[in-house]
């Protein structure tokens, strides 16, 4: 946990310094608008920088009494999370080019297969049902402009 805290705190510290730098670059106020656009983000980022520096120091000096525990993270979980996350990114890309319906069939089939390891026909049936129902309800009934792709589904 201590190591994780240090990593997160340093990332946040770097991020807030970047924001402070960006906020300083924002134009000064325009007539009639009071505070300029950069003022509030500047102070917020300054506070965030202070707090994350504090977290960093506490953990480097090992003063954080709550940081004693071990983070539950193993290689296998990391891989599973990575696979799911990549799947979701692919889902987004598929949605844009193949259309929402087809992408959904793929996603639901793949996820239920991976998480539950059912027979493939069951998984694909679930995928088709979810895709058809959501397309019917959202695209056709609520006329939501879901991406159609070249097959129009």
């Amino acid at each position: 946990m201590r190591k994780a805290n240090i990593i997160v705190a340093s990332t946040l510290l770097a991020l807030s310094i970047f924001i402070i730098y960006q906020a300083k670059k924002l134009p000064a106020s325009i007539p009639g608008a009071g505070l300029g656009p950069g003022v509030v983000p500047f102070w917020l980022a300054l506070c965030l920088a202070f707090l994350s520096a504090l977290l960093l120091i506490i953990n480097i000096l090992n003063l954080d009494k709550y940081a004693s525990g071990q983070i539950s993270l193993n290689r296998q979980e990391l891989i599973s999370v990575g696979v799911i996350f990549l799947t979701l990114i692919l889902y987004m890309i598929f949605m844009e080019y193949l259309g929402f319906g087809i992408a959904t069939i793929f996603l639901v089939t793949f996820l239920s297969k991976r998480l539950g390891n059912y027979a493939l026909w069951k998984c694909s049936l679930l995928g088709i049902v979810v895709a058809v129902v959501s397309v019917q309800v959202f695209r056709n009934f609520l006329s939501m402009p879901l991406p159609t792709g070249f097959l129009g589904f």
Partner: protein
Amino acid sequence: MRKKFNLLIGIVLITALLFTLTGCASKDSKAVYPSKPVNMIIAFTAGGSSDVQARVVEKFWKKEFNNQPLVFDYKVGAGGQVGFTEITKANPDGYTIGGINVPHIVFQALSSQATFKTEDFAYIAQVVKDPLLLAVKKDSPINNLNDFIAEAKKKDGKMNVGIVGPFTAHHVGIFQLADELKIKVNPVIFKGAADQNVALLGGHVDAMLGNLNDVMRDLNNFKILALADDQRHPWIKDVPTFKEQNVNFKADIRRGFAAPKNIKPEVLQKLREGFKKICNDPEYLKEMEKIGQPAAYLSGEEFEKYVQEYTVNAKSVIEKYGLK
């Protein structure tokens, strides 16, 4: 239990009905435009003034355009900039048009973060001209423009005037008005007409530079000092214009429709003619009065000319007041 069952049947029937309704796209006849539904981009939220106006147009659209429906597409964000940009970048086949607002598009096109130019639009028609007005609360001691000037002088620049901003007709207008009246006021920017009106009614600002459309909702609670237009408006006949009081101040917000610039001339012509017919339909004018938006038709050419003139004007104003 039985009743609930009946209700259930009712819902199933209605759902079925709706499915069939949405499924029934009309048959297309190839050659004539439009042969399929036309997309309408709205740059503000569903239910906002721009949307409500476009929905009125929708009621008359099918009659003029081959019985094809309009499909609404809301592209909201950054004060309309997202939607306006979306219109300029759309396929110029005539199947995507959108609602535009002046002076929003002019200021956004002049801004350092511009994502389009005013020349990127093919202007179809202007449909609404909503004049600005100076208003105070009903029980305010200020009764007319002279009182307002006196009060502003007394407060020496500390008089708070609510505007909708920034980079809007109101924002630029308040500086111009203060110059014309030779007074100093302190503008307070609100995000929308709703917040602005509440702040005035609650007495948190002394006056506001608002729109006719917004005060129409609740005329009883406002006292309107002057209207920023050439003539008095029929809805508020007893409110004098600035001009009548020898103040040279005219400002308004306009709504219109546009397509991407590379649209085929004959399609643009068709759109312009269709809108002209819609806008002169007495039924349409009645609907517009019901929604409280002052209808004012201008043809596409006239609207384009107006935008060009306004742009020239706006450039000098922006420089003058340092609004960059």
